[in-house]
Structures are given as C-alpha cells and as structure tokens.
Symmetry: C2
Subunit: 244 residues, 2 copies
C-alpha cells in the first residue's frame, strides 16, 4: 500500500500545481516555489515533490533552468495536422504573427538522400534555403528547404523574409501543390538546430520531413522542419478502419 | 569558399558512411571506425569527421555509447498514421511480433486531466493500465491506458499480456471504436518512461495522447503512448486544401 499512497501524493501535488498553472495563479515565466517551500506547503517528502515537478516538466508545463530554478513554461502551440499547409498559413490560423529569419540561400550538390526525395540524380545541383520561422517573434521552427535548381534559383531571389515558399510556388510560379508525404520523428537537437532555435543541445525536437508534390506526383519541395518540442503539439483525428 | 568546401567534405563523409550502413557493409550493432581511422581514411580534419558522425546521429543511423564508441543503430520502424489502429495491428502490418509486459493494473482516482478526457468528473474512479509494448521482443512503447470504471474493471481481469484492449473492447465487450483524436509531441524521457523503455533519462520520446471514441462521440479509452524516439517514425500523406 505504501507505493499506492506515495503515488497519490505526488499526483496530488502535480495536479494542484498544474491547475494553478492552468488558471494563471502561476503565470508563464513565473518561478515555481522552491522544493523546500513545496515540501512545507504540501507536507510531503522531497522525493514526492521532485517526482511531481518532474512530471510537470514531462507535461511541458514547467521547465528547469539550471542553477536558476523551475519556471512556468510557455504553453504549447496546438496545430492541426490534417491538410498540407505552410508555416505562415498555420500561424495565421492560430492567430499568431509569423515571421522568418533567412539563415542561408545557396546552391548545393544533392546528396543521395536529397536527390532521392526530389527524384533527381545524386550529384545534381539543388537550392537549399535555411530559415528560422518565428511565431510572435519567438523561434518555433528551423526549416531546411531543398528545391530543384530551376525553380529554386528564382525563389532564391525572392524576399523569403516576407514571402512563404508555398505562396511563391503556387501564385508567382504557377506550380500547384497537390499533396505531401510527412515523416514525423522525435529527436534531440543537434548543435546547429539548437543554436537556430535558441535551445540547448539535446532539447526535444519534433522533426518533420515533408515531400510536397505537384500534379502527376511530381516532387517540387523537400523540407526538413525542426520544431521546438517544448512549444508544439500536433493534433489529428483518425477513423477506425472498417472491421474485417 | 572555405566554408563551402568544408561542408562538401563532411557531407561526403556522411554520405559514404550512410550508404555503408544502408547496404549492410556496416551492420546493426557494429562499431563505427574510430575518429582517427576515419580521419586517415577520408583525409579530412577531426572537425569534419565529428560533424559527419554528429549528422549520422541526428539521422538516427548511429548512436554514441559513452566511453565505448559509436555504433550502427537499429533502423527505425516506419508506421502509418492514417487510421485508428492498435499496437498489435500496427506490428502485424509491419511483420513484427508484438508482445506486452503488464506493469500495473489498478483503480485510481481521475485527476482533472484524465477526467476531462473520459468526460467524467474529477475524483471519479477509473482503471489505469500500464504496459510496455514490445516489437520482436524489444521495448518500443510504454503505454498508460485509462478506462471508465465499469468496462475497465472487466478488462483488468483479462489477460493483457496477450489480448489487445482494442480487440477486447470491440469483440468481447461489443464497444465499437469509431475514431480517435491524436495529440503528437516530442518530449524527453522522464525516469519512469526511461526505465520502462530501457533508455537513459532525457532520451527522445514520441508521445501520443489518444482519445478513442465509440458511437455518439462517447469516449471509451484515453491513452498516453510513449514511443522510443530513436526507433519510430510515423508517416502520413496530407492533401493540399482547396485554393481560396
């Protein structure tokens, strides 16, 4: 029974703190009471407090800043994953202001993986564009976009700080987007991703590889999107398949 | 130009090693040559070798075991995310053998979050089942399942090591599953998840919260699925919405 009692206690502490975060009694960016204060307030052991706080970290409600304490985290953005949409469209649907910082635009040689995604031959030249995408001025995603050379060279000259690549393709260059394949992974931030997103190396990243196709299944855009795992959640609804 | 040259070199090293992993010249579990050996073989700098290896880590192709070296990682399981399916169905579709280890089956008091998902009142009792789900004997997902009390009490008595909860609901208890809402997140493994999945704390976790509904949008099953991020990738295809 001891285990059950303890598990009730930490989950009670967790629930109380989560609800104080939920109702704003503890606001975003605010520091959580110290361990000692929580031990006193809830009359529980240090282990129980730690487990409760650890679970709040796991739920993305608070974050530990080393040497500084535990703080209420920014709430995650909940984004639909039901249609092929671009970052600017997504943010506008959520009432957030999208912006972009262009890190690089260059012509590179396609390695085997990139060549395959764009249905090219390894060694062909492609355009690679790297951007940080911001929501309300806060870095949310680090995007690497690979485009076939001809269309890519045109898009390189556009103002990518302002114009979404999807709009350019569809409206300016008359390349309709039909559908995309998404590959979804949870990974840890490597150095370049961490730097772009202002996170520590080893922070959680929701990585999306996206191959967008135009008519006739023609690949037009291959992206590697690295979302800050602590700031994003994707939602979708799936139907049960027909019973056999 | 120096930067471009260097970037070609590391991506060349990366590509060669990735293709050796792809074609089996470097097998799963095999150790990569040491940094010194790679420096010699490719005639590149240590920085270039490190960057290439770091990128292979990022792509999930190799993993660093501290103090031991770098090893070829198990390839990720690529799983469709297009219909509501259970773990056993998913593994069978992939030709892998599913099994389960039951960690706990208990009646607990629903906290606010669980109560909300099951359309109950906070404080009502629910059944919580915790299982490790294995693919070919290897832990792939740690699942927490919450069920309403009445059906949950029945399911607690079933042999959950063998019988999937979806089958029990649909076939034994005549509770049809119609659809589910999925919430997808990238998080870091907390202690209990890490232990269940035999990973280090802080490893990447692909977390899915799934609310499954029966007829009339009636919630019947609320799950928190924690997949090993290094072993899983979800894929889906999404269509472009109709142009405005």
């Amino acid at each position: 029974m001891a285990a059950t009692q303890d598990s009730l206690l930490y989950s009670q502490v967790e629930t109380v703190l989560a609800s104080e975060i939920g109702n704003g009694a503890l606001g975003v960016g605010e520091q959580l009471p110290t361990e000692d204060e929580l031990i006193q307030r809830f009359e529980v052991s240090r282990i129980t407090v730690r487990r409760a706080v650890q679970n709040l970290v796991g739920r993305g409600l608070v974050e530990i800043r080393r040497g500084k304490g535990t703080f209420v985290a920014k709430p995650r953005i909940t984004q639909e994953l039901t249609e092929l949409t671009g970052f600017v469209e997504d943010m506008q649907a959520l009432g957030r202001k999208p912006s972009a910082r262009v890190i690089s635009k260059e012509i590179v040689v396609a390695n085997a993986s990139v060549a395959k995604q764009l249905a090219l031959t390894k060694g062909e030249r492609v355009v690679r564009i790297r951007r940080v995408r911001l929501a309300d001025g806060f870095p949310l995603s680090f995007d690497e976009t690979y485009l076939p050379l001809e269309i890519g060279k045109k898009i390189m000259k556009d103002n990518l700080k302002v114009e979404p690549i999807f709009s350019l393709l569809e409206r300016k260059y008359n390349v309709p987007l039909v559908e995309a394949e998404y590959k979804l992974e949870a990974v840890l931030a490597e150095a370049n991703v961490a730097e772009a997103l202002e996170m520590k190396v080893g922070s959680p990243i929701f990585r999306i590889e996206r191959n967008s196709y135009s008519r006739n299944n023609h690949p037009v855009d291959y992206e590697r999107l690295h979302y800050r795992g602590d700031l994003i959640r994707f939602v979708t609804r799936l139907a049960r398949k027909a019973a056999k």
